[in-house]
Structures are given as C-alpha cells and as structure tokens.
C-alpha cells in the first residue's frame, strides 16, 4: 500500500508539477499571512507584524526550493528542469554554442572515425564465437631472427599427432583456383585446408556441411566450400548448388557447403578446398608454406599450449637436426596474429585524436570560464532564490553535457561522412586482405563509445567553469552597474594554465606528425632499384591439370611476352614469379662451391625468383656485370643464375662472382650446381628494409606455373589492360588473370601505412594547432580588454603605442613559451613511443623539433597580433571617460 502511495507521489511530482507548484505557493503564502495575523493579534503594528513574519518564514522562494529538494522524483524532475534551462542558455548564445559545438564535432568526429577503424581492425577483426580459444601456430627460428615462419607439412603432422593441448588443429595453404565452365574465366583467391579447419575456428556452414575427415586423403580431396559472396555473385544464391560439381583449375570439385555472410577468415578468401598430403609432401620438413590454426582444449591456456608445442619442437629438432635444428614454435592468439602491423599506428592515431579532444576541451573550458564571468549576475540571482551550490554546479554540468551531446551528434555525422566519401582510400585488391576492413562502420559499439566520450567530454570541460561559476559573491554582483571584473588572479591563472596545456599538447602532436611525415617523405624518395613508372602488372596461374608439362608452361609465358611486346604502346614486357614491393619472397638455404659445409642451422640463405629473359631490361634493373638471360639458358644448356649486388658483396666480397657456382641445399638439394652469369642491381622488396640477398633464375631452368606479367607502356598503363587480356585469351581462352595493378599502386600500397599515419597525424596536429591558436587569441583578447583601464592610464602618462603592443604580445608569447617548454618532454616521449614507425629520422630529430617550435611560435604571435593592435589603438581619453 505505501509503495503504491509512493509511486503515485513520484508520478504526481513528475508530471503534474504545475499543479503541485501552485499548491505549494498558496500553502507557503497562506502560512506567511497566518504568521502575520498572529503577530497582529499579539499587538504589533501591521508593518512590523509582516516584517517579523517574513523573518520567521525565511523567504518564500527559499522555503519552496527546500520543499522541492525533499520531494520524491525531485532529482529527475530537476534534471529535466536543468536540461530545459541549459538548452535555453545555449539558444540564447548562438555564437558561443556554434563555436563550441563545431569544435567538439571535429574533436569527437575524429575520435569516432578512428575508433570505428580500431573497432573493426583491432578489437574485432575476425568474428569468432570464442576468439580467446583460437590460436595461430608459427615456426620460429630465434637464432636467425625469424619470428614467424610458415610450417613445413611434416612438422605440422607431428604436432597434430603428438599434442594433448588442442581439441582441433588445422593447416591451410594459399590456393589459386581458376573458376571454369563460365562465360568469362575468373581467378578465385582460395585456400586449401585440412578437414578439421572449420571445427578449429568454430564455424559452421550456412548450407551443406564442413569437410569430412576422409576428404583429407589424396583422391577424395576434390570438395569445395563457397564463401557467401561467391555463392551470391556466381551461383545466384541457389541453395541447390550444394552437391553439384564446379570446375576449378580444369578439375571437377563437388560443392559441399556455403559459409554464412558473417564469416570472414582468412580475409580475402573466396573458396576453400580440402588439403590432402601425399606421402612425399607429408614427409617434407624443408618447405615452409602452411599456416597453422588450433583450438585450445578445455582448461588449457595459451601458455600451456606453448610449453607443450615447444617441447615437441625440441624433440623434432633432435630427431631431424638437418631441417629442424633451432626451430621452435610460436603459439599466439589468432586475432593478434592477424592484426599484427596495424596495431601500432592505430594506437598512435587513437592517442592523437584523444589529445586533440583534450585540447578542444581546454578551449571550451576557457570559453565557458569567460561566460561564467558574464553570467555572474544570473548565478547570484539563482543563489538568492535558494539554489544550493551543488545545484548550481549540476546546472553547469548539465549544460556542458548538453553541449557535449550536441557536439557528439554532429561528430557522428562527420565521421559517417568521412567513411562515406572514403577519406582513406585503399586499392580494393589490397583492402580485401586486411582483416576487418570491410566492416568499418558507425555501428552500435562505435555509437556507444561516442556517447560515452560526448558525455565524458562535457563533464571534463564543464568541471572547472562549474566550480568557478558556482561561488560568486552575491552582494557584489547584484549591485547595480557593478563592473564585471572577472574572478581576479586565480581565475586568470586557471585560464592561463589551460592555454599552456593546449600549447604543450599541440607541440607533442605536431612533433609526432612532423616525424611521421618526414619518414613518409624519406620513404617516398627511396629508390626501389628499378623504374616503377608506367608498369602494368597482373598475375596468371596456369593450372597443373591443363599444363601438365614444363614445356607447355614455358611456351605459354614466352609466347605471351612476345605477343604483348608487339602491342602498340608497349615498350617492353616480361614475367616473374614474384614482384618487387609485394612484400613476398621465397627463400632457400644454399651451398657455395669451394666453401666448407656449414653446420645445420648455419647455412647461408637467399631469396630466389624466376624471371623471363627480358625481365631486367623491362624493369630497368641495371646489369652491373655479365649478361642478360637468353634463349640458350634452357634445360639443354648450362644451368645459370644471376645474383644481386648484395649477394655478391655478402658471399664474394672483393672477388669476381662471374663463373662462381652455387646450388640449393635443404629440400631443393637435389638440384645441380648453377653458374653465376650476371650481377644485377639491388631492388627493394619493402621500402623500409635494406635490400635482401637475391638470386634470379631463367624461366626455362626453374619453371613456375604462377607468374606475374609486367608490361612497360608509353601511355597510361591502365589503358592497355584490355588489350593485354585479349592476348592472354588468344593463347588460352579459359585462362583468367588476377590482381591487376600498376607498379604505382603497388608502391603506394607498401607506403600506405606511413602515408595514412603521416597525413592523418598532420591533419589532427593542424587542427590542434588551430585550436591552441584560437584559445590563445581568446585569452589574450580577454586579458587586453580587462586591462583597458591600465593601458589607457599608461598611454595617458605617455607610453608609446609600440610599448602597449609589446606589452600585450609579450604576455601571449610568455604563455606560448611556457607551453613550448612544458610540451618538450611530452613531445620527446611521444617521439620515442612512435620510434618503431619512423624511417630515416630519429625520434628526437632536431630539425623537426626546431621547425615545429618555430611554427607554433609564429602562430602564437599571429594569435596575439590582433588583440595587441586593438590595444595599441586605444583612445585613452574615451576609455577613461567610460569608467
């Protein structure tokens, strides 16, 4: 029963507040009148009676406010009231509101934008039901500094057989799948996976079934799983496709299932087929090409798994020293393994936008402090009417949180636009490979994040003004015509501190941006070792089922190169199995003739590529010594090799490499000796690491079925794409091409992290600089206005305008200088934190620091200039007369 009464009271106070208010007012007034009557009855004169009654009551409004504060639902009710009041205040000052909301919109928008990327790429790149359970497995060779190496099949099979820590373990391998039986042949990015794969990543197909254990044996492995997109785009979402054959690489595969639309691992995959090991491939410990994934058994931690796998690896190293010595295992959460390189730059960006928002907060705090001064009378009146200090503080905080929400709303809109117009643009061939890239969006977690920071921001920037504004001197402010003098020295100190903090944070951001931009510019200038201009590249994967002999493959590529070379607009054409700047390589250990046999695990290593004869000419890689490959370099002739400059310097320093002989060791040890016929210039695989030691083989002597065609063109390389494809179709109409990119695209992809990091950082730092300048301008203009009287006095006493100018500018520059000094350790710290992302520039690069400090000082001067000019032109007589 009482509960019901309470609920009714709560609702009445909340919704019938007008009636309740009138009632209260009448009640208190009646009380006052009865008090007065009582006094009159005691014999006081009427006026005296009324005065005494008022004193006893203690003020009608105060009593009413005290009653309101004790009422049920009062809190909620008064928050509504505060919101209404706050909204009215914001509407009354459209200039302030617009400036603050816009600043916040940019700050919160930047945070929302970067967070949407962080959420998609770092926090939830792959959506597993239980991501903590799924681990990636790598081989690692600590002695050689190799932290992540793909697995050799025999090692994987031993781990699978011997471990007790995983309930599922699977391996996957890149797979080029040419989709046939369709009008236009298409290349699919596929993966071959051991049958346990889908159980390992806890994924169920949307249609059909996962692979069966027996499908992991040769002959039964022609089964395929489609991704949702492939199913939708190529099989018109036909559910009856399950169980039907599909032509892949000229072989019939049976479709067993279709994965759901949300499944996105590994990123870029379009199709899966079963991976079966033959007795030979299953015994291979020298070729590392498998990616391992495993699912932890119940109650097993990643550390326990690591310990057991390391123990197994140690046993294998003893058992097979030739291939396994020094080889350990790395067990890491799969999500972490996939995110990898994106983490550091994204964290830097997140910190940067956080700092930008902090600067925005400082600016708005300053604006509000100034407003607190002009609203002193309002505060005084509210206090006189019975508002407690707590209530006043809350009123200010509600107002600033409203402002925060307004900025947050606009910020979300801004972030949405940034995503919509694709501020960050990445070639789709590359974006496809970034886990989570396709899922960057303004979704629920992002909105939640934004709401939190919007309200939090409101609290942060509203806190100081609320404290200051809520303790005015009632009597002074209410006096008619009292000058608004500000809150004196402590108030000024507060505002100055905020400005100093803004300058300090801006310095840190500008320095970081400067260092990153400098790294990017340095990297842009790194010569790749060949001429990347006007080069068209595309890949072709000839299926073994149709190209059964090496001659067929060689003929295809040689004819293709010849046909393309004769196209109008083509200056040269060639093919290579691995392109520079692609970040890919194949590596082998090797023997050098006449050198003692090295101990296992100590063999020299080098990258190797297969190229057609015209490759060096087409790429414009200089041949430093020796000759180009020719048609004589066939299976019938002497086996030859070209080495790069780094190779020659490493293995034959001061000797002539020509005529020396080398051969593979390890899994390719059965191949014969090859004679060095050329030394060529170094090329970069990645722009930020020194060129590796490399060998080149002529196609005829080291056949590869997957090759990249490179075409040097006179016009825009993209314009020749169609005619090159015609030549491919003319040779084999079932043969698709894929990953068509210009060398410029490839180059920009390798630089993309630095470019994006640098430009985004520069944008954020620029914004921070603008905010700091505005803040400084505001504070100096305000201070100058406050000092009008003093300046007029000085001028009246004979001070020259120049001295006034110096006075005002000096005040501003002093603040800027303190800010610079305070920001110095911060900037040094930030520089150190991003050291791993820098190239060719030290984290405490003097030029960057000096340049940034000069820019900041210049901007600070500009910000002080206008108020100083204004102060200089003060008319002392007019100013003093106005006092």
């Amino acid at each position: 029963m009482p509960l019901l009464v309470k609920a009714r009271s709560f609702l009445r106070n909340l919704f019938l507040s007008r009636g309740v208010e009138v009632d209260l007012d009448q009640e208190v007034r009646a009380h006052l009148e009865m008090l007065t009557e009582e006094n009159v009855r005691r014999g006081m004169p009427p006026e005296e009676a009324q005065r005494a009654a008022r004193i006893e009551l203690g003020g009608i409004e105060q009593v009413k406010e005290q009653v309101r504060e004790r009422r049920m639902g009062h809190w909620l009710h008064s928050v509504f009231a505060d919101c209404r009041y706050g909204a009215r205040q914001l509407r009354k000052n459209p200039g302030f509101t617009a400036a603050a909301a816009l600043t916040l919109a940019l700050g919160i928008g930047a945070n929302t934008y970067i967070f949407s990327i962080v959420d998609a790429l770092l926090l939830r790149p792959i959506r597993f039901p239980d991501p903590g359970k799924v681990v990636a497995l790598w081989e690692r060779v600590p002695n050689l500094g190799i932290d992540r190496n793909e697995l050799a099949p025999a090692n994987f099979l031993d781990w699978r057989a011997q471990n007790h820590v995983f309930d599922h373990i699977a391996a996957q391998e890149w797979w080029d799948a040419n989709l046939g039986g369709v009008e236009y042949p298409e290349h699919l990015h596929g993966f071959l996976v051991t049958p346990d794969y889908f159980a390992t990543v806890e994924a169920q197909p949307m249609l059909g079934r996962a692979f069966l254990p027996e499908e992991g044996t040769p002959g039964k492995d022609h089964v395929a799983m489609l991704t949702y997109r492939l199913w939708r785009d190529h099989f018109s979402s036909d559910p009856s496709v399950v169980g039907k054959p599909v032509l892949l690489n000229g072989i019939d595969y049976t479709v067993v299932g279709v994965m759901g639309p949300d499944y996105n691992y590994p990123s870029g995959a379009q199709i899966w087929a079963a991976l079966a090991f033959t007795p030979q491939s299953g015994a291979n410990r020298g070729s590392h090409y498998l990616h391992g994934v495993a699912h932890l058994a119940a109650g097993i931690s990643p550390q326990q798994a690591q310990a057991e796998l390391s123990a197994i690896a140690a046993r294998l190293a003893k058992q097979y020293p030739a291939t396994n010595i020094g080889r350990d295992v790395k067990v890491m959460p799969l999500v972490e393994s996939e995110v990898g390189q994106a983490r550091a730059p994204l964290i830097v960006l997140m910190v940067a936008v956080g700092l930008v928002l902090a600067i925005a907060c400082a600016n708005i705090s300053n604006l509000m402090l100034a407003r607190a001064t002009s609203r002193q009378r309002e505060t005084a009146i509210r206090t006189a009417l019975g508002a407690t200090r707590r209530r006043l503080i809350r009123q200010w905080l509600v107002e600033s949180m409203l402002l925060g929400s307004l900025g947050g709303g606009l910020g979300v809109l801004l972030a949405f636009l940034c995503l919509k117009v694709q501020v960050i643009r990445i070639p789709p061939e590359f974006a496809r490979m970034i886990p989570g890239w396709g899922r960057i969006a303004i979704n629920t977690p992002v909105l939640l994040f934004t709401s939190l920071i919007s309200l939090g921001t409101g609290l942060v920037f509203g806190f100081l003004p609320a404290l200051r504004a809520s303790c005015p001197n009632v009597n002074d402010s209410l006096k008619e015509g009292a000058p608004s003098t500000g809150f004196g020295r402590r108030h000024r100190l507060l505002r100055n501190t905020l400005i100093v903090a803004e300058v300090a944070l801006s310095l840190a951001l500008l320095v970081t941006a400067g260092l990153m931009m400098k790294s990017f510019v340095r990297l842009e200038r790194v010569s790749p070792g060949f001429n990347p201009d006007r080069l068209l590249t595309m890949f072709i994967a000839l299926p073994d089922a149709r190209y059964t002999s090496s001659e067929q493959t060689v003929n295809f590529y040689e004819q293709l190169v010849e046909r393309v070379q004769n196209l109008p607009g083509v200056q040269g054409a060639a093919a290579a199995n691995i392109l520079p700047l692609g970040g890919m390589n194949s590596t082998s250990t090797l023997r050098i003739e006449g050198r003692p046999e090295p101990a296992p695990g100590q063999e020299p290593e080098a990258n190797f590529r297969t190229v057609t004869n015209s490759y060096f000419r087409t790429m414009q890689i200089p041949i430093l010594r020796g000759r180009e490959f020719s048609s004589q370099d066939s299976t019938k002739g002497q086996l030859v090799v070209a080495v790069n400059k780094a190779f020659a310097a490493r293995f034959w320093p001061g000797e002539d490499p020509l005529g020396k002989r080398i051969r593979f060791s390890g899994p390719l040890a059965d191949q014969p000796w090859r004679t060095v016929v050329a030394v060529v210039g170094n090329i970069q695989d990645e722009l930020n690491v020194p060129p590796p030691v490399e060998m080149y083989f002529p196609l005829r002597q080291q056949v590869k079925s997957t090759m990249a065609l490179v075409v040097r063109t006179s016009p825009d390389p993209r314009s020749l794409e169609a005619s090159v494809r015609v030549q491919v179709a003319a040779l084999d109409r079932d043969q698709p091409v894929f990953d068509i990119m210009t060398m410029d695209d490839l180059r920009s992809v390798t630089l993309i992290g630095w470019r994006l990091g640098g430009t985004l950082m520069a944008a954020f730092a620029g914004f921070a600089l603008g905010l700091a300048a505005l803040g400084l301008f505001g504070v100096i203009a305000y201070a100058a206005k406050e000092r009008t009287h003093e300046i007029a006095m000085r001028m009246a006493l004979g001070a020259a305008p120049n001295e006034v100018f110096r006075l005002i500018v000096g005040q501003g520059m002093a603040l800027a200088l303190i800010g610079l000094l305070a920001g110095l350790p911060l900037a040094l710290g930030m520089g150190r934190a991003v050291a791993g992302l820098l190239y060719g520039v030290s984290p405490n690069d003097l030029a960057t620091f000096a340049g940034v400090a000069a820019i900041l000082a210049g901007v600070a001067f500009a910000a002080c200039y206008i108020p100083a000019r204004r102060a200089m032109h003060t008319d002392p007589w007019a100013a003093l007369k106005n006092e």
């Binding site: 029963m1 309470k6 009148e33 203690g58 009422r71």
Partner: protein, 110 residues
Amino acid sequence: MSAEPTTLLQGTLDLLILKSLVAGEKHGLGVSRRIQQITGGTFVVKPGSLFPALHRMEDEGWISSFWGDSENNRRAKYYRLTKAGRKQLEVETARWGRIAWAIDQALEAS
C-alpha cells in the same frame, strides 16, 4: 517564549509531527505551534524544515492533505494522519524509546 530552542535530532522531527497530528488535522502553522506547545517551547520548527518534512511525509503516505478554512476563515492546507502514519508513529515511538533508554544507560555508566 521559553528556553533556547534546541536543534532537533535527526528523525525526531517526523516523530513530533506525527504526534502533533494525533489529536486531529492541522495546517502547517498549527503543527508548528502544537510542537512548540507539547515540548514546552524546547523545539521551534522553522518553516524551512517544516514544509519539506510535511511534503516528504505526504509522499511517503503517512499523512494526507486537503484545503480547508482556518479559524479566521482563511483557506489553508490541512494535514491529517493516515493509517500508515499511525503505524509509523508506533515505529518511531518504539525507536525513540530505545534511543532514550540507550542514552540514559550511557549517561549513568561511570
């Protein structure tokens, strides 16, 4: 008027208001004067404490209010005890008894 008004113990005000309404409905000033009378002038309840307490107790459902005419034919808001209020008075009385006893004990201890 009599001796110095004493500050009310937390929670005592509710008890006094409830008690003052036992004899019948009263308006705010009546409650205030009745408390002054029954405590021998020890407690003077100011409107700034009285009205918040009355409104809170009404919200709790211990007392109810209505508009009526005063002795001098003036419209005033009257309060009266509800059933829940009588129960609350018993609770508060018992509580006060315990407190008073405890304080006595404490003072008598050497």
